[in-house]
Assembly symmetry: C2
Homo-oligomer: 216 residues x 2
DNA sequence: TAGATTGTTAATCGATTAACAATC
DNA sequence: TAGATTGTTAATCGATTAACAATC
């Protein structure tokens, strides 16, 4: 058979690689703001505590080539990574849970700067519903599925107490959410079509606590 | 040679295993509150989307044995995991950065409930220094190293803008902090003796964005 | 007892690293 | 040109899974 397709097959990038690509992208943006032109795999590796082999291996998953003796063109690589990571698009989000954490997320300035826009904040507590958070008003969680569906919201952030996490996930899925970021401790279950990422802060603290204990 | 030592050598638990142990521990606490007596490796595996082999393999790292036909005693396993993860101790923390995120962290009720107590909040912005957050007052970041050293603070939470993350890490290290939780995007460098955990929220969103794009 | 579940060894799988020809 | 750096193949390493004897 003749293979007329672009060299790089768009096959499934392993999740661990994607995670590292997000970190490369963060560095690339920094370099870009410093007007750097070129970056080598060993530069990136050193900043992130990896080997240059890993970096090159990872970058071989995306459709961008470096140049011998020079490395990778900063602008070009940044653009390709942006595309791979969806950073060239804007994404709409809702925050569920208007407690301290939900409140902070709704006001977090870095999100819109990176293309992630919060379109609504929800809670089940009557005392919180109707309150202002920045330019938004807290809505009743009962209206969540309809809101997601009508506004075509992409991503839901779960910032409720752990016990309610699965229920909220179900509401998000009912509204046809496309992805979920779970900020609680609890493991949530979704259909395979709805990817979930989790940032377990308490878990991370416990992991640290273990590492500290081990030190001494 | 005779081996009179306990069967389980206290050797270095791989970091990936520790991360999963924190998740097992969360489940165990839930089970305990429901007065469950026994749990099997396959129960845990199913709730977390793992195999029972992985669970048993992980639990073989800690000094607690299950019982054939019954599984693991919930109380006993919870206690052993608590010890391994330092959840049987209380830990003192500082939050650096009194923006929205730092503010939310300082007020987050789950931390003290899990034994992580916030003893101080710091910022460099004169407009923020002196403000009240709950029962604390925002202090000048210049006084951070001395505070850590004198109060023997265990863990520092970095919740400042990315550009300042490394500087803050250096101040924490100068004060002899024992571990750092980095909530910014940026990779920070510390001496080997100071473990760092990171919860990259924007990275997680970009990871989701990639997975969503792949779906369609 | 029979059968379910552990703990552990061995096999498999995947991810990281090393190595090096190609190349600019 | 000589030498640095890529892209990729092969080797290594570690983590996950399978399998099963031990056992309650």
């Amino acid at each position: 058979m003749f293979n007329l397709m672009s060299k790089k097959a768009k096959t499934h990038i392993p999740r661990g690689v994607v995670v590292r690509l997000t970190r490369y992208y963060a560095i690339l943006q920094e370099l870009r703001s410093r007007r750097a032109q070129w970056v080598s795999s060993s530069d990136i590796a050193e900043w992130l505590g990896l080997t240059s082999s890993t970096v090159r291996q990872d970058l071989s998953h995306i459709d961008f080539r470096g140049i011998s003796r020079k490395g990778y063109n900063v602008e070009g690589l940044a653009a390709t990574l942006a595309k791979t990571l969806g950073a060239d698009t804007t994404w709409s989000m809702v925050v569920v849970g208007a407690g301290n954490l939900g409140h902070a997320l709704a006001l977090h300035e870095e999100f819109p700067r990176k293309g992630f826009h919060i379109k609504g904040v929800f809670d089940s507590d009557p005392a919180k519903i109707g309150r202002r958070i920045g330019s938004l008003r807290v809505m009743d969680v009962l209206t969540l599925p309809r809101f997601i569906y009508e506004k075509k919201i992409d991503i839901g952030l779960i910032a409720v107490p752990s016990q309610a996490a699965q229920q909220v996930a179900d509401l998000l899925v009912a509204g046809r959410i496309r992805g979920i970021l779970n900020l609680t401790q609890t493991h949530i279950v979704t259909p395979k079509t709805v990817p979930v990422a989790a940032t377990r802060i308490v878990s991370s603290l416990q992991e640290l606590a273990h590492l500290i204990k081990r030190q001494s």
